[in-house]
């Protein structure tokens, strides 16, 4: 239960509502009690003043002795009003309603105030208040004590307290219940997300979560989940497309191997024919083997599991090495090189050569006979710092605009008819791109009106 959001939030709600209701109740109770007590005290003092005035009137002495009943009638508005009048010697002159009660002795003054009122408990055990004052009866000082019993009032306060406690408990309970209901409602979009997530399968990655009606707080979550689904869908589509491509690419050499071997075995052949068959088989197998190697390289590059030793390499030297390597092939195709580059680039020697070799071999294949392939290096300032660009430009038929985004994809061949060409695995540019990613850079293509420029962009050291 520790993990239940509903439980925790509901308990917090209950606690908050209980505390605030109790606080409010206590405040109101205090204010109510204070007000009632103030009124009662004023009434008590009023009663005292009334007695004082009565005693101060002419003939009070006679009246007190001859008609105590009159006093009684005047004073006993309420059963619980107790009045005692004593002379200076403590002789009780009059004792109304509760003869024999023992009072505390509040200080007696001509004009008593609330501060002189004392609490008192009657013989019956009921709480009460006592006030005292002085008066002159026919020139003699008397002491007046007025008291009141507040049994009703105490009972009322107790009832009031019980009501407050009850109200607080009810408020807390309803808050808890409300919290449970609100959370159940508020978490409904989350349950919808969970239900949707439970339905996600490799083939159904493209269905998006509905953010309509979801609260603002959950919207970023839904947006991120949707973005994640899109990425997964992309990756999955690419991966399954890639497996299909791979199988397709393997089909041609395997088909050749199977077919030509079966044809050869169908009847007796001369040793020369068998030799021819085997040599042809070896060529197909080498193609498969190269494809497997390239695939493994790409897979490892993707996991960044290719050891790279980056060191400063003289660009001029690397270009010269490439030119020397491709000398024969370029000559056969009637293509020449133009390279003028200085400076260094920070790269892994073998990987850089592999990338350049792939670009150059492509450039020679696509160059117009008699044209010049230009190798160049430039340093450009970019937002990320100084970037070094190595470019390979060949003249020839421009690359179709709709091919451009896919040139660096595996097995993408702009020229479908060329897919069977020996030596072409359709992975050359994908490897170039992977090599550049291993260097933290990128490979680009910049088409011109009658040229194609492939660019290796190395980031600042």
């Amino acid at each position: 239960m520790k993990g239940s959001l509903t439980l925790r939030v509901s308990l917090a709600f209950v606690l908050i509502v209980a505390l605030s209701a109790a606080g409010l109740g206590l405040y109101l109770y205090r204010a109510f009690v204070g007000e009632i007590e103030r009124r009662d005290d004023i009434a008590l003092l009023g009663k005292l003043r009334q007695v004082q005035q009565l005693l101060g009137s002419a003939g009070a002495q006679a009246l007190l002795q001859t008609r105590p009943q009159y006093f009684r009638d005047t004073m006993s508005g309420q059963e619980n009003s107790l009045v005692r009048i004593e002379d200076a010697h403590g002789q009780v002159l009059l004792d109304i309603n509760a003869p024999g009660e023992k009072y505390p002795l509040p200080p007696a003054a001509a004009a008593p105030a609330r501060t002189t009122i004392l609490a008192w408990t009657s013989r019956a055990g009921a709480p009460g208040q006592v006030a005292a004052g002085t008066a002159w009866v026919d020139g003699l000082p008397v002491r007046i004590t007025v008291a009141r019993v507040y049994a009703d009032r105490t009972a009322m306060f107790a009832r009031y307290r019980r009501q407050i406690v009850l109200a607080c408990s009810l408020a807390a309970m309803s808050a808890g219940l409300l919290a449970v209901l609100l959370l159940a409602h508020g978490l409904r979009p989350l349950r919808a997300i969970a239900a949707h997530a439970a339905l996600v399968r490799p083939g159904r990655l493209d269905s998006q979560l509905d953010s309509a009606g979801a609260p603002n707080e959950l919207r970023p979550l839904i947006v991120s989940l949707n973005a994640m689904l899109v990425r997964l869908h992309d990756g999955y589509t690419r991966l399954s497309g890639f497996s299909a491509d791979l199988a397709h690419e393997f089909r041609t050499p395997v088909n050749n191997l199977l077919g030509q071997t079966q044809v050869a075995l169908a009847q007796q052949r001369s040793p020369d024919e068998y030799e021819e068959l085997l040599a042809s088989n070896v060529e197909e197998l080498e193609r498969l083997s190269r494809m497997v190697d390239s695939m493994l390289f790409l897979a490892r590059a993707r996991q960044e599991d290719v050891a790279t030793v980056r060191q400063p390499l003289a660009i001029g030297e690397e270009f010269a090495r490439m030119r020397a390597f491709f000398e024969g092939m370029a000559e056969e195709r009637g293509v020449t090189f133009d390279d003028a580059a200085s400076g260094t680039v920070l790269a892994d020697a073998q990987l850089l050569r592999r990338a350049l070799a792939n670009l150059l071999s492509n450039a020679i294949r696509h160059a117009q006979p008699g044209s010049v392939i230009t190798l160049a290096a430039t340093v450009r300032a970019s937002a990320a710092g100084q970037e070094t660009e190595l470019t390979v430009t060949n003249k020839g038929k421009p690359i179709d605009a709709h091919d451009l985004p896919y040139l660096f994809d595996r097995f993408y061949r702009a020229d479908a008819a060329r897919s069977g060409e020996a030596g072409s695995t359709g992975l050359g540019l994908a490897i170039v791109s992977a090599i550049m990613q291993l260097h933290g850079g990128r490979a680009e293509v910049r088409p011109g009106p009658d040229t194609s420029t492939f660019v290796l962009v190395f980031p600042a050291a």
Binding site: D293, N358, A422, G423
Partner: protein, 228 residues
Amino acid sequence: MHILIIEDEPKTGDYLQRGLRESGFGASLARNGREGLQIASEEEVDLVVLDVMLPGMNGWEVLAALRAREATAQLPVLFLTARDEVQDRVKGLELGADDYLVKPFAFVELVARIRTLLRRAPVREDDLLCIGDMEIDVVRRKVRRQGQPVVLTAQEFNLLYLLARRQGQVLSRSLIASQVWDMNFDSDTNVIDAAIRRLRRKLDDPFPIKLIHTRRGMGYVCDAEQGQ
């Protein structure tokens, strides 16, 4: 020279044994690690070709056992692996293997590696190499055929010199790319073929005896005789 092949895959084992015998080596074949260790201790073995993925006792364990025994501690071991993982290679070399090849590999590549390990490859380091009517002055980097100078570019000379030093040995295209241009990866094979064609145009075309021969599916060989 006797080579012990430890390989469980039947076809691989058979062709390795046959190929190595035809390349002039004695070859024994063990189908598992235990059998291999037994042969290594009983027979005169000069080199072991060891597959890493063996049933039961794997290649690493065999390698460790070979290194642990005094008699076989120095025996050159070339291991074959199907997994081109850096850790795999590092592990093999740490355990004391001398070289490795990743499957699939070219058979001529294996033979070249074995020859290097046995240090018996007939690499000629003379100042003057003569093959048929060709003379190569290594110091001056000059080539003559029938006494007439043949003018080669620096790349062409390097290529010819590599083939001539390994006279009679078939060199694969990837070995040539690696040795002549320091391109240690599978590059466009047309590049090597074009370079060989260019060399032939200058070296062989004007003369009746051809020195550079194509071994289809394997590579190139330089020899006075056509061979087979």
